[in-house]
């Protein structure tokens, strides 16, 4: 399918909107299972209708054809002719998937999966029952499917009376009423009367506006859908009612040539049901689409502004304060403005977490059917906002956690009732803000973690020493160890033992933290703590020798001063220290980074206890400096990734300081055993 450039641009918008429409359909369908109210069916119907209209306009006949079948089914549901059954919902959901693939294939100009389309078409036809051809026939040739499809005309109506009162911008929107009338005339004998009473005096007349309205009578056994088709683009500006038999006024042919004769066409449904009037095509979501690149530029600029401001502040501190009071005032205002500006700019990148949550009703729906479990999914805090990048990266880990909760956490209905619980399990997915972080919780009321089994498996695999005593919390968190799975059977849902460790690594890489708590028989809660954004970091500045480094506050557990008697050496050189009941390795940044510190002795400096991947270590620094928000700058853009360094930032005095990559530091510690690194620069 080749389109010229402009069309391709518009088609792109269509594809995008179709995808959004499909999302609307899907979420609507999922709620239908519980509440089949007219409004939600209408919403689904409208989405399907727009996709059909759009695809027909762009000449994607197959998409339009397929959607038509779906629409027919939805239309019958909407009018109460067809009951909303679980089977129908399932078929419609599959149709959504199929449509999504068709749209993707059309966009990529790939061939469509005809087999799947045909099988779903026949499914829909099957549900529609009596006349499978109705579902597909008009689709082949939309608009003008004049060929009779069924013989017996339904009694009751001999035509339609249509009142068409277009909005003033009808012509400006490139709608051509005469073309519509010609179209109608093809369906049956048409009488059109124009109402010119609203035409104003010449001096008040807008030559581009439409002041006319029309009263149309069309005779013949015409299905409502065909009339809908004609008025497709002027939704809600017209209404139609059937003319009872024997009362037809199709007498004088008006401006338009009458068609040869009225044709017998099958009536799809009772024409007595009028289309719901005045429905908006789609609710305005109140959002705009902005290229991420542009936003990133603004964010960089604002970051620089912040740097300038702190530079100015440092400058003002050195001068006579009496004379410079006003300068100081101005500066503090500048500081406030910059911060506000930065916050509001950052907001542009923020998206509600519902973007990630929206996939879950469907995932849970499909998975619970597959596993024969009964699940109720509760979503809370969907409007909690977080950075787009974080959002994108957290989606997959969340899917994994929810699948796990369903597969491992929740029991079968039989087991649940045996345990005295409600047959339907609950999975709660919630998000909220806490401090500068976002907390996401995945909670289930299932069986909880089997601590004895976890401990046994961990010992079998040598992850825990045979005589090691662990707290309940430590046992629960063993499931995040690489290669750990307690599932008795590996299923295609989960249980291969890859997963939880990857989940934790992904979260750590985002600068976040994950924890599980569980009570046997009562379920588990997984708690993810994430920074709101990857562009700014709450940092702790530390000094080693003459260098300043920055740790993310999220990664710091605590900072302590140790006495000499709590520091021991292992195998000669590696040092460990005792923190309450734990021995933690000491990482010396001076050795890691090849710099000259004030002192190499742990008791002279401070130990910053950091945590990642469930491992902890104490990093020896000479001094703790300020805590401040820093703008993260990439080292890669002009240089390359450096081991142990997550990025750089620019301090108030204009110098560059490096941000420590805590997960990487801890990982490299594992590889080198004990944190002793001899690799100096050069």
């Amino acid at each position: 399918m080749t389109l010229d450039l402009e069309m391709a641009e518009i088609a792109k918008v269509f594809f995008q909107e179709s995808r959004e429409g499909l999302d609307v359909m899907e979420s609507g369908l999922l709620t239908l299972g519980t509440t089949a109210d007219a409004e939600s069916i209408n919403t689904i119907f409208r989405a399907a209708h727009s996709i059909k209209g759009g695809s027909a306009t762009f000449g994607f006949a197959e998409v339009a054809g397929f959607t038509h079948g779906v629409e027919t089914l939805l239309d019958e549901m909407r009018n109460g002719v067809r009951a909303v059954t679980a089977e129908a919902i399932q078929t419609l959901l599959q149709s959504c998937d199929c449509l999504r693939e068709m749209i993707a294939a059309t966009e990529a100009e790939l061939p469509l999966d005809q087999g799947r389309i045909a099988s779903l078409n026949s499914d829909i036809a099957h549900i529609l029952g009596e006349r499978p051809q109705v579902a597909t026939a008009p689709a082949k040739a939309p608009a003008a499917s004049a060929e009779p499809t069924a013989a017996a005309p339904a009694a009751g109506a001999s035509g339609w009376r249509i009142v068409f009162e277009p909005a003033a911008d009808l012509l400006r929107l490139r709608n051509e009423p005469t073309r519509m009338f010609t179209e109608l005339a093809r369906l049956g004998a048409v009488v059109v009367r124009a109402d010119a009473s609203r035409v104003p005096l010449l001096d008040a007349l807008d030559p581009e506006a439409c002041y006319l309205s029309w009263d149309i009578e069309i005779s013949g056994q015409i299905p409502r859908a065909q009339i809908d088709e004609v008025f497709d683009w002027v939704d809600s500006q017209w209404r139609a009612e059937p003319i009872p038999a024997g009362n037809s006024a199709a007498a004088v042919p008006a401006q338009l040539d009458p068609p040869p004769e009225a044709r017998p066409v099958s009536v799809e449904r009772s024409p007595a049901v009028a289309a719901p009037a005045a429905q908006k095509a789609s609710p305005d979501s109140g959002s705009i689409r902005v290229a991420t690149e542009k936003l990133d530029n603004i964010i960089n600029l604002v970051g620089e502004l912040l740097i300038t401001q702190s530079m100015l502040c440092g400058f003002a501190d050195g001068i006579d304060p009496n004379e410079l009071d006003r300068l100081r005032q101005g500066l503090s205002q500048l500081a406030r403005n910059t911060r506000e500006l930065q916050e509001s700019v950052m907001q542009i990148r923020m998206l509600p977490i519902s973007f990630a949550f929206n996939r879950f009703p469907r995932i849970v729906h499909d998975l619970s059917r597959k596993l024969n479990k009964r699940v109720e999914l509760k979503l809370t805090g969907e409007n909690t906002e977080l950075d787009k990048t974080v959002l994108e990266k957290i989606s997959d880990p969340l899917v994994h956690l929810v699948r796990n909760a369903l597969d491992h956490g929740l029991e079968t209905p039989e087991r649940r009732s045996a345990a005295g619980k409600h047959e339907t399990g609950t999975i709660e997915l919630g998000a909220f803000h806490e401090g500068g972080n976002i907390i996401i919780e995945v909670r289930d009321d299932g069986a909880g973690l089997n601590k004895a089994k976890i401990l046994q498996k961990a010992r079998e695999r040598g992850l825990v020493a045979p005589d090691q005593e662990l707290t309940d919390e430590q046992i629960d968190n063993l499931i995040f160890m690489p290669g750990f799975s307690t599932a008795d059977q590996v299923s295609d849902v989960s249980g291969r033992g890859v997963g939880m460790d990857v989940v934790r690594r992904n979260i750590n890489d985002l600068g976040g933290h994950v924890q599980i708590s569980s009570k046997e028989g009562h379920g588990s809660t997984i708690r993810i703590r994430l920074p709101l954004t990857l562009a700014i970091l709450d940092g702790q500045l530390v000094r080693v020798g003459k260098e300043i480094y920055i740790f993310s506050l999220l990664a710091i557990v605590e900072t302590i001063q140790v006495s000499k008697d709590r520091v021991n050496t292992l195998v000669g050189r590696s040092e460990v220290f005792r923190l309450r009941d734990e021995y933690l390795p000491i990482v010396k940044l001076c050795d890691q980074f090849g710099i000259e510190p004030d002192s190499r002795r742990a008791e002279d400096g401070l130990l910053v206890v950091i945590e990642s991947d469930g491992k902890r270590a104490g990093v020896l620094v000479d001094d703790l400096l300020a805590q401040q928000q820093v703008v993260i700058k990439s080292l890669e853009s002009n240089f390359k990734p450096v081991a142990g360094v997550a990025g750089a930032t620019i301090l108030g005095d204009g110098t560059v300081a490096l941000i420590i990559d805590v997960p990487d530091l801890i990982r490299s510690m594992g590889k080198l055993g004990g944190g002793e690194v001899t690799a100096h620069a050069a």
Partner: protein, 172 residues
């Protein structure tokens, strides 16, 4: 980061037969870089060191909000390091293209001149070329009876940053 791209790019921007080169001094030798690659020349200032990098990577500086690495060309070429003096400058250049474009500063002893170099006056480097690894030499040119060493800056910097395996020639 091939020689071919940089050469063709320069051909288009300069006249057919001559190209402009900024020259600088390094241990008594005069080197030239394509002037279109030079963004600015600034004085030497303190850098922030970066761990796990070779010694010729001096560190990074803040160049109007961008974090820019600074390389020491003497050390890169395996020449004897000297204390930075009043003429020591940092030449900030743009190297690579497209997604690989980087802004990098190199420390040299002093800047010298801007020359128009006739393409006809350049010769390919001989196999042995003093103290500089010949891989980074694009051509030799003769100007006012002096020899200029024209550097392939994309290759030199790209190599220095991404692939440290190509060793500098041992100190002369």
């Amino acid at each position: 980061m091939s020689t071919a791209t940089s050469a063709s790019g320069a051909d288009k921007s300069a006249t057919e037969t001559s190209e402009q080169y900024l020259t600088f001094m390094l241990a008594g030798e005069e080197y030239g870089v394509d002037i279109l690659r030079v963004q600015e020349i600034k004085g030497w200032d303190k850098v922030t060191r970066i761990p796990h990098t070779p010694d010729y990577v001096l560190g990074v500086i803040n160049l109007r909000g961008a974090v820019v690495p600074i390389l020491d060309l003497r050390r890169r070429f395996g020449l004897e390091a000297i204390a930075f003096g009043p003429t020591t400058v940092v030449i900030v250049m743009r190297v690579g293209s497209g997604r690989d474009e980087r802004t990098v500063g190199v420390v040299v002893d002093a800047v010298s001149e801007v020359y128009n170099v006739e393409t006809a006056n350049t010769k390919p480097p001989p196999d042995v070329c003093g103290s500089v690894d010949t891989v980074f030499v694009k051509a030799l040119a003769t100007i006012e009876e002096k020899m200029l060493i024209l550097l392939d800056i994309d290759r030199l910097i790209g190599n220095s940053i991404t692939n440290e395996l190509v060793p500098g020639v041992a100190a002369a």
